[in-house]
Symmetry: C2
């Protein structure tokens, strides 16, 4: 028994270490992609950020595009996780949508998510492109459903939920392109203005 523990410990450590390194590579890559764009960032650049050489990357990642796919995976899980949280409550549609917006603005400052938002739709492999599209449609569909439910329960104005969901995502995703957490504009003000626009509109 004692032996078993001693034997399994390093093995777990190994897997964990590997995962940690993969995560770090993803973070480094995502940051570089956001700063310079996918095509202007070479695998050598990414390797350098990680203090390894290019071939080492291929031990963690299938190829360059695979980095984007793995980022998408992370993004998909976080966004769907948020949607799980939001839709778990029995609040009305409007309040659920509001919660989603607040959570999404939080999520959208993460480099991996930003990278995914910016580079989704750039998949070269057609299967990967299809998968990416599907996962995106899935998320959009869930938000659309929240809106639809809100219209039904009377908390949201009657509207074309499809278009509204897309417009909402356009605005929120746009944030990922310019917003920096470190900057002078704080998070609460940003969320406040987004909610002002989305819930009550601009007309006085």
């Amino acid at each position: 028994m004692n032996k078993k523990i001693e034997l399994s410990k390093p093995a777990l450590n190994r897997k964990a270490k590997r995962q940690t390194k993969l995560d770090a590579i993803l973070r480094h890559a995502a940051k570089a992609f956001m700063e310079n764009g996918y095509y202007k960032t070479s695998l050598d650049d990414i390797a350098k950020l990680h203090n390894v050489t290019k071939p080492t990357l291929y031990y963690y990642v299938k190829n360059k595009e695979d980095i984007l796919i793995k980022c998408e995976d992370v993004a998909s899980k976080r966004i769907n996780g948020l949607l799980d949280e939001v839709t778990a409550t029995d609040e009305n549609g409007f309040l659920q949508l509001k919660k989603f917006i607040v959570g999404y603005v939080e999520i959208v400052t993460d480099d991996i998510i930003r990278c995914h938002i910016r580079h989704r739709g750039q998949r070269e492999n057609s299967d990967a492109r299809e998968a990416s599209l599907n996962m995106h449609r899935g998320i959009e569909h869930r938000v659309r459903e929240i809106i639809r439910q809100g219209v039904k329960d009377g908390s949201i104005k009657s509207c074309n939920s499809t278009i509204i969901a897309i417009l909402l995502f356009d605005a929120l995703n746009g944030i990922s392109a310019w917003y920096r957490n470190e900057g002078e504009l704080n998070h609460e003000d940003l969320v406040g203005q987004v909610l002002l626009l989305v819930t009550d509109g601009l007309r006085k």
Copy 2:
């Protein structure tokens, strides 16, 4: 006199023809860039679309990036032209903003404009990048001013005009990525939903 006219006519024809061809190249390039992205579109591809060979393009365009710059030029003129129109009236800020939104959604379906929106910020040359940023700031500033004026004259809710202008552009520019004029969703419905969201918000 008769002679003079005969002499100047072909010269004008030449310049006009040249301009026409440049426009066509820009359109072809912009369309290809939108379909496949800037880096996945080679100059050979663009040349082929125009039934010429690659070196011929260099007769009309300085280099690949110059295509983006020329697209930006077209875009800048059209958007600023719209803003000129909109701000020429003495209507209140809200109505001016509404007019701008309607006009912008119209503009945003043009391939050259779409290309510019998608690829702005990808300039490799640092001077070009700076110029691009400045022109974009200029436009954003003008919209911000409209909003500010609206707040002043009481037609728009009190808000952070900087953030709101950015969010508005995020949503509108997002449209350029997915909206096709030919599709089942007609222009009026789209504009209607945008205005619903922006002017009155979703909360019932």
